[in-house]
């Protein structure tokens, strides 16, 4: 088991385990975080999980963990690793079950004082309009044929059906559609699970939140993102629902024989992998992209119903308001991207498991509106605490394949959280802070108590200290819907 002393401190925010630590490692392993975050990494098995990633063939640069790192299954959460696209691997365990779990932020021209009288009603309307809970049906029914379009076109399907604007698509990672998706690569059971769930939050750590922008750190970039101090924003955190879970589970099963077939050594079966350029690898990539597209469409449909709920509640009360999309980021994904490696441009497959893309200004993947600013990086905090809007940097491009953190990161197990507080207590504590809460599961609320998470400020200080993102704005919650 690696210990703190085995790591070399590269800077105040970067710690590196040399490749020589274990002869099976094919790259060094890096942890991003200040001394406190680095200490926390040794409380669970996440360091070993990171080392396991560093052992995978075709890895380029380093196996990395962002400051919100914690124990996962396979990759650690907060894990980033890139593999050569010619002889490297793709691993469903490096993406996870909730393919393209991500966050969308809608910003408004509404001042929080303007909507304060309607907040309870608004939260109730959002709760009705955006279904949540385990297995629950979604707001929209799609036919088998439409599902093919969802899988292959993502938010493009939503645009055709009036659930999106062109601006929404422009302000979504990959324009809401990862290329190469194939509906026929998605197992039938995944389709069966996903078809009724379009437009639903799900459960677990998923949420919908109304927040107020309480701090602006970079006025110019905040203006470009449409963020005004005192105004409210809406955050939507969810993913590909049962469809994504099933794609992951089925391909993990299919790939169980692949390591032996292709001579890939793995330290953990959850890391089963196939060469990117193999029939198994290509099929998984096509299915993963399809599940990711489903998730983009899902968040887009939810955004549509969020706007509808606002319209319904504010009609005749408040006029001249809008909810425009700031951005939509994915934090469970593997994507083909080109990065500079040793001075040369190289095509890589970048796995981000609980990590967010954080591209610098000028990257061709960014829309025209963000070419000069860099990509908005949305980092939700734990329920009841601040969330941040960051922006991607050149340091991230140089060091982390343009990646940054995705949240606060859990610190306490769900069992410990349940022992610590009851759901009613968590709800009352949030209410005392002036936060309205709606949930279908008080137990779920207890599992997601803010005290179960790291202090998001520590995580943000670490990513900004390391230079892999810069602060733009902070938001704090007014109303929460917990899936």
């Amino acid at each position: 088991m690696a210990e703190k002393k085995d790591f070399k401190q590269v800077s105040a925010y970067v710690w590196e385990l040399p490749q020589s630590y274990d002869k099976r490692m094919r790259a060094p392993a890096r942890i991003y975080g200040n001394a406190e975050i680095f200490d926390l990494a040794f409380r669970d098995t996440s360091v070993q999980q990171l080392i396991n990633v560093a052992m995978l063939p075709g890895i380029v640069g380093r196996a990395m963990a962002m400051p919100d790192m914690h124990q996962g299954y396979g990759f650690p959460i907060g894990g980033v690793a890139a593999f050569r696209s010619d002889d490297g691997i793709i691993s469903p365990g490096g993406v996870g079950y909730d393919i393209n779990c991500g966050v969308r932020m809608l910003a408004s021209s509404l001042h929080h004082e303007e909507i304060a009288p309607y907040l309870e009603t608004l939260n109730a309307a959002l709760y009705r309009a955006c279904p949540s809970g385990v297995g629950g049906d979604g707001a929209v029914k799609v036919s088998e044929r439409e599902l093919d379009t969802v899988l292959e076109q993502g938010s493009g399907w939503a645009l055709q059906h009036g659930y999106a604007t062109r601006d929404d698509l422009e302000r979504t990672e990959d324009n809401g559609c990862i290329p190469g998706a194939r509906a026929d690569a998605v197992p039938s059971r995944a389709r069966e699970r996903g078809r009724p769930q379009m437009g639903s939050l799900g459960a677990g750590n998923h949420f919908l939140e109304i927040d107020v922008i309480d701090e602006i750190y970079d006025p110019d970039i905040a203006q470009a993102f449409g963020l005004v101090k005192g105004n409210i924003v809406v955050q939507i955190h969810c993913g590909s629902r049962g469809l994504g879970h099933e794609v992951c589970a089925q391909y993990l099963k299919q790939l169980q024989g692949a390591p032996a077939r292709y001579g890939i050594e793995i330290a953990d079966r959850e890391l089963v992998a196939a060469p990117v350029d193999s029939p198994e690898g290509r099929d998984y990539l096509a299915a993963m992209a399809a599940a990711a597209n489903y998730a983009f469409a899902n968040r887009q449909v939810l955004a549509h119903f969020v706007r509808g709920a606002f319209e319904q509640v504010l009609a005749g009360q408040v006029s001249d308001w809008e909810l425009h999309q700031v951005y939509d980021v994915t934090h469970n994904i593997a994507k083909i991207e080109t990065h500079a490696v040793g001075g040369k441009q190289q095509r890589l497959i970048v796995h981000r498991k609980g990590a967010t893309r954080a591209f610098a200004p000028g990257r061709p993947e960014l829309p025209a509106v963000y070419q000069a600013t860099g990509q908005p990086v949305l980092v939700p905090g734990s329920m009841g605490t601040a969330s941040y809007v960051l922006v991607g940097t050149e340091t991230a491009m140089a060091e982390t394949f343009g990646s940054s953190c995705h949240g606060a990161g859990r610190m306490m197990s769900r069992n410990a959280a349940l022992r610590d507080k009851r759901g009613e207590q968590v709800r009352d504590e949030l209410r005392k802070q002036g936060i309205t809460v709606r949930t279908g599961s008080l137990k779920g609320l207890a599992e997601e108590a803010p005290s179960a998470y790291k202090d998001v400020d520590l995580v943000i200080d670490s990513v900004t200290g390391a230079g892999i993102a810069r602060k733009v704005a902070r938001v704090t919650p007014l109303a929460v819907i917990k899936g």
Binding site: G93, Q256, D268, M411, S413, G444
Partner: protein
Amino acid sequence: MGRWRAVDHTADFALHVWGDDLPDLFATAAQGMAALTVAETAGTSVMLDVTLDALDVEGLLVDWLNELLYLSERHEVCWTAFVFAELSPVALQATLTGVPIAERGSYIKAATYHNLAVHATPEGFETEIVFDT
């Protein structure tokens, strides 16, 4: 007689499971998972047959638990009793008995292969399973 114990995991759920034999291990793991995911049941029991195969016993255990999660989501039923017509390390045939779910418990997305190993012991079998939540 099988037993299970919840193991602390930072983000997800994990269960340590003991069984006198493989059917006992599989049934106990399923009961442990049901205890996490279902708070209350009510109504008339239902039955269903399941057939699965896998490369090895660990793969079969993951398939088994994920099949039960899927069938629980699809039928809104908590599976509580299991009769195995066949259970080898690579295949199983089982009849499930379940009761409709009145209130759900914690949310589990899937059973994972993470560090999964089924160990034979003098008392039977044991394993530890991590669930993605």
